[in-house]
């Protein structure tokens, strides 16, 4: 009962066809995943439409010289804050629902049973989520530029560092939730339950200066608050705790990376 050795004479492919390289396979997967993310209405609404609509409303809701914003114009304060909302939407809504849906419906098993390597899908998710985040932020800035004007960046390297750490932690959080939660419905429920407090307390809601002290303390514990401050402070040249926020984001990034690597077996069977 010995199986024959793998045939070397029978090619598994017709002679006129050539085998794709692993790079070509990954590129094709990334493009296809991008199309699928774009066709998912709930993700598009939260990542693109919601931040733009709400920043236009709230940015127009305060007097230009309102002292609650630490000397910055309200529209400038909120533009940076709503970049944090885009990141929260990617990490708490779009990615978890997409990944949990794949796991729940057996899509991951379909990929596992094909020629894709075990890491191809996570790499594609990271690539697509990063690209969509950048496009969503660019769309947000282009829209707000037309309505309010976008303020000049005070410290570009530090702002970009805050943005990069924000993207990293956001995508990691999305992957952790998508792998940890049992199904798409749970991912959507938990994601939305986390998103709205993050949105309201993370800097995109009322400014901390108008909050009672207890709510200011709670807001400081919300991870999105660190993302927003890490971008907002060097951008507008306000505040003095940027280093602290960058350190917190780095720690969150490391912890979530360890968590999703530990959960990576859920991408495969057994």
């Amino acid at each position: 009962m010995t199986a024959k050795p793998l045939s070397t004479t029978r090619h598994s492919m017709s002679p006129q066809l050539t085998e794709r390289s692993s790079g070509s396979i990954l590129r094709h997967l990334i493009v296809t995943e991008a199309k699928l993310f774009i066709r998912e209405p709930i993700g598009l609404i939260f990542v693109f439409a919601f931040p733009i609509l709400t920043v236009l409303i709230i940015g127009s809701s305060f007097e230009a010289d309102d002292p609650a914003f630490g000397g910055a114009p309200p529209s400038a304060y909120y533009i940076a804050a709503y970049i944090g909302v885009v990141l929260a939407a990617v990490g708490l809504v779009m990615l978890p629902v997409h990944l949990a849906s794949y796991r729940e419906r057996g899509v991951l098993r379909r990929f596992q049973a094909s020629h894709f390597s075990a890491w191809a899908l996570p790499v594609a998710w990271i690539a697509v989520a990063t690209a969509l985040t950048v496009v969503a932020i660019a769309t947000l800035l282009a829209t707000t530029q037309l309505v309010f004007g976008v303020p000049a960046i005070n410290d570009l390297p530090l702002t970009l560092l805050g943005l990069a750490l924000g993207i990293w932690t956001s995508i990691n959080t999305g992957i952790v939730l998508g792998l940890a939660l049992p199904n798409a419905r749970a991912a959507q429920g938990v994601g939305l339950a986390l998103f709205f407090p993050s949105f309201l307390l993370g800097g995109a809601g009322p400014p901390p200066a108008v909050m009672p002290s207890i709510m200011r303390t709670v807001a400081e514990l919300v991870p999105t608050n660190h993302v927003v401050k890490a971008i907002q402070q060097p951008w507008l040249g306000i505040g003095s705790s940027t280093t602290f926020h960058l350190i917190v984001l780095t720690l969150i990034g490391i912890v979530t990376t360890v968590m999703w690597v530990a959960l990576a077996h859920r991408v495969t069977a057994d």
Partner: protein
């Protein structure tokens, strides 16, 4: 005259009132080239519950090999081990000479899979799915879909396909890269009878092109219609292996002939006919139990002035009967 009538009667019985026999599987193995799959003493447990227990079998090149059993018998776990999707706790496996776990990436290029519990993203279109899972560059996707009757659905999202179209797409994907071995797990589950027979013909065509097929099903009629050999599983163990006919002969009930007897039928004479095991009579109807060799002589005894009973029915034992008896006897 009697012989002529018998021939006519048998032909009529075999076309209408008699339970139809499933199309027999081809028993010759045109492409047979030795074992391409060998399974030796594999076992697998989940949380201490043994779902595959000391399973052994081999599959020859170019045959359709069936794994038959009730839900939970361990069939899917066994074929998932063969595809490298699960790692057995004990035993050894070889598929095309490769270890499915150690050589997973290499093996994946030579096998095709249709998994029982798998799906595609809802918004993935049919043509995109084929392009995505294609290992080759230069394939004409539309021509490929046309060949499998899915060209009209090329732009249709997976969520909008019917059950039959989805199963057909899964077959397309499983066969896309011209595998040497293809694993098909509960392929026709949920299909209507016409769609099921279409899929059966596709599987025969696949085998005829030289691909070895491992077919997992709890549906005995499907196994009987398609498979050259079958292993019957129950509670994680293989309880019998052979051709569908061999398993039916070993475990199925007897052939039965049921009819309203003519006046003066000599029951003693019928009971002594070759192949007859016993006769039962209920509500004016006689049921004769025996082997298939009794059919002609019992039918001849039913004649009266050249006419047979209008309600005569013959039931042949099926693999389904054998499966029920086999598993029932074990339990």
């Amino acid at each position: 005259m009697r012989t002529g009538f018998l021939a006519l009667m048998l032909e009529t019985m075999l076309t209408h009132p008699v339970s139809p026999l499933p199309r027999p599987a081809r028993t010759h193995q045109r492409f047979s080239s030795g074992a391409v799959i060998s399974v030796e003493a594999i076992s697998k447990s989940y949380s201490g519950r043994c779902v595959v227990d000391d399973v052994n079998f081999s599959v020859d090149g170019g045959e359709i090999f069936g794994l038959l059993g009730a839900n939970g018998a361990g069939k899917t776990t066994t074929v998932e081990c063969l595809q490298g999707l699960r790692r057995p706790d004990a035993g050894s496996l070889r598929v095309l000479g490769l270890d499915p776990n150690a050589d997973h990436a290499r093996l994946r290029r030579s096998i095709g899979s249709q998994l029982q519990q798998s799906s595609l993203p809802d918004r993935l279109r049919v043509s995109e799915a084929v392009a995505l899972f294609d290992q080759a560059r230069g394939r004409d996707v539309m021509a490929h879909l046309d060949r499998w009757g899915l060209a009209e659905q090329a732009k249709t999202s997976f969520a909008d396909l019917s059950g039959g179209q989805r199963q057909r797409l899964f077959i397309v994907l499983a066969l896309l890269n011209e595998p040497e071995v293809v694993f098909l797990d509960e392929l026709t589950q949920g299909l209507d009878p016409a769609a099921r027979r279409d899929v059966w013909q596709v599987i025969r065509d696949v085998r005829d092109r030289g691909t070895t097929v491992v077919l997992v099903s709890h549906f005995a009629e499907e196994i009987e219609a398609l498979c050259d050999r079958v292993a019957v599983m129950d509670h994680g163990r293989i309880v019998d292996t052979g051709t569908p006919r061999q398993i039916t002969d070993r475990h199925a009930s007897l052939t039965t002939i049921c009819f309203t007897p003519r006046r003066g039928l000599d029951r003693q004479r019928v009971a002594r006919l070759d192949g007859v095991e016993r006769i039962e009579e209920h509500d004016g109807q006689i049921t004769v139990f025996g082997t298939s060799s009794m059919i002609a002589s019992v039918c001849a005894e039913t004649l009266e002035s050249g006419r047979g009973p209008d309600d005569l029915r013959i039931q042949h034992p099926t693999l389904d009967d054998a499966l029920v008896n086999l598993i029932g006897a074990i339990q």
